[in-house]
Symmetry: C2
Subunit: 375 residues, 2 copies
């Protein structure tokens, strides 16, 4: 690591979150505003801030009481949104993103938060923190607003890897269940496998195979498997955790976000249409504010990287203070619950069994396809 430690004994009893201050669309000022917001609300949190110290220190100094909660790691370079992950893996040692992960790796911090380039952050996380034993593809889990009592559903993979075969999807189900339990507080989460229909004969071969695998693990891993679910169930009430590959997951999230944004725009226009509608909008402002808060993506900001030795939260690139603060809160909650260790234990306990089960299950799925072909 190139950055020099800058110890601060006041942080001794706090949970320390390592924060990449650079690389977000709104620059370090939004990140510092976000951690100030978190610090104000939560006395048990401390920060290691990564970036050019001469830029960060004045920003922190402006926030009363924040300086004594922050340590710095002075790093000169920044990963941009355009940098290819392969380039960052080779040349990124002096970046704030690399340094932020290093603090988790060496145990100085209990979790990392970054608003930067997702692909680079995942690539660096894999090489620096390493995958958990038995995990083939790490995944990004996000929270999607839903009609469920908890207000949102977990969906993974949201785009860590564009491929996923049946054993990967099983891993996602196990990791997603663990996240829903420890991060969201659902004792027995309901897991759904995303497909183009709910009938068991539908969809791609790897989905039928994954269906069989996940069903076999539900009891042991302490979740309910509701079988195949459809796109409409992502914001719905059928499942708490939606499992899919990173290609499909990425498209689904962005379609949902785009649809919500379109409706918000059209709602605004509808209320500006006439004098009466403007008057209505003044009276409706509290109601609309309530709705906006309910589905505000900033409130559930933060994709969690699952399947690594350590907690990494990817905040939205365009996050403002509210968004950064939500991502920090999530990292704090996960660190405090010992999520990373619990997930590791959960995966380890199932890896062996999974290997025993995967091969026969694969053969069964192939057999079924053959029989259907003959029918």
């Amino acid at each position: 690591m190139t950055a020099q430690p800058d110890q601060n004994p006041a942080n001794a009893d706090r949970i320390i979150i390592s924060v990449d201050a650079m690389g977000g669309d709104n620059g370090p000022s939004a990140v510092v505003a976000g951690i100030a917001k978190s610090a104000e609300k939560n006395p048990d949190i401390g920060f290691i801030l990564h970036g050019p110290k001469q830029v960060l220190k004045p920003l922190v100094a402006k926030r009363s009481g924040l300086s004594e909660r922050v340590q710095y790691r002075d790093t000169p370079d920044v990963v941009t949104m355009e940098d290819k992950p392969s380039h960052v893996m080779r040349n990124g040692k002096s970046t704030s993103m690399w340094s932020a992960l290093e603090s988790v790796r060496n145990g100085e911090a209990q979790g990392a938060v970054s608003c930067g380039n997702t692909g680079a952050l995942m690539a660096l996380s894999v090489i620096r923190l390493r995958k958990l034993p038995g995990v083939n593809r790490p995944a990004i889990a996000i929270l999607f607003p839903s009609r469920n009592p908890q207000g949102f559903n977990v969906m993974l993979d949201a785009g860590a890897d564009i491929r996923a075969d049946a054993p990967d999807l099983l891993q996602y189900a196990l990791m997603g269940a663990s996240y829903a339990r420890n991060g969201v507080g659902l004792k027995r989460p309901r897991i759904g496998l995303l497909n183009v229909g709910t009938e068991e004969h539908k969809g791609r071969p790897e989905l039928k195979e994954a269906h069989a695998l996940i069903a076999r693990f539900a009891e042991q891993a302490d979740f309910d498997f509701v079988g195949f679910v459809e796109g409409s169930d992502i914001p719905g009430t059928t499942a708490d955790v939606i499992v899919t590959d990173g290609f499909t997951g990425n498209i689904a999230i962005k379609t949902g976000e785009g649809t919500a944004r379109m409706i918000a725009d059209l709602l605004r226009e509808a209320f500006q249409y006439s004098l009466l509608s403007r008057l209505a909008s003044v009276l409706a402002i509290t109601s609309l504010g309530r709705l906006k808060k309910r589905i505000d993506p900033r409130r559930v900001n933060g994709g969690v990287f699952l399947g690594l030795n350590g907690t990494v939260v990817k905040s939205h690139g365009s996050a403002d203070a509210t968004g950064v603060s939500a991502a920090v809160k999530l990292a704090f909650r996960l660190a405090k619950s010992g999520f990373s260790e619990k997930l590791a234990a959960r995966v380890a306990s199932t890896v062996e069994l999974a290997q025993d089960v995967a091969e026969p299950a694969r053969r069964t799925a192939e057999q079924q396809q053959k029989e259907e072909g003959q029918a």
Copy 2:
């Protein structure tokens, strides 16, 4: 064909739409209500109605002026939503769905509309109407509300086939452009290829290959190719036509629909929260009605099957009179514009060139991947 013709000379100068009256969630009464609505608005339209005549005739008789616009094909059986396509293909000859397609096949009608089982309708359409020469996989094109001036974007494939390789995606681009031109009235549609990012190095190999293929055809086929687009562009303004495989397309549509439904529900709840918010909702009712109309899926109801000899419009299974009427209107508009013939000519003119281009393009894409791997 099992059903007997029941000629009505009054229909001589009209465009005749063949309507499967059965198989929708709301039964034949919703379908008859829908065609009555269409008949009222449009004097140039006539119908062939397929289903049990003793059920349909009284429903038609209740609508003034409708009887003289309707011919019947008396069919005893119905394709249910649960029937497997393979079963219907073997045993469906006496169903209203089969009969509805038959009227297009033998030239009695210029287009067919059904609210029934999508998989069965597509399977029957392929075996009875046959694919256009040069089309490997027919596609379903739907209209998705968007911020574009025309109010919606075309997206295909919405779920006809869960697979699509690069030449299929090229066909979808050609067919989608033709539909946008003839069905939606866009002279030079902008085509986007759905991916997890807009950078050219992202996504699956077949998408990189399709990117190269579509780019080479844009000029000749008279559309603009905007390259890769993301899920957020489906309701956005970047492209008019979104091209993707039927698996991803199905997930994206249903996620968008589910998100819109969730927001509508939450909006309703937000306005019922307090006395003031209820008052606001009374004043806002016109504004909200305007918004609702703008994104009402019933107004753009109808997935069009592309790549077949003949026009088939799949109405939503849960369509009410408004929805059925919108699907009929779409079938009428397409029939009147001679869309089916224009699409066939467009595909034919590009098939030969496509075959010349596909092979070298495939080699180029493979070469690129190799080079990236080495870089």
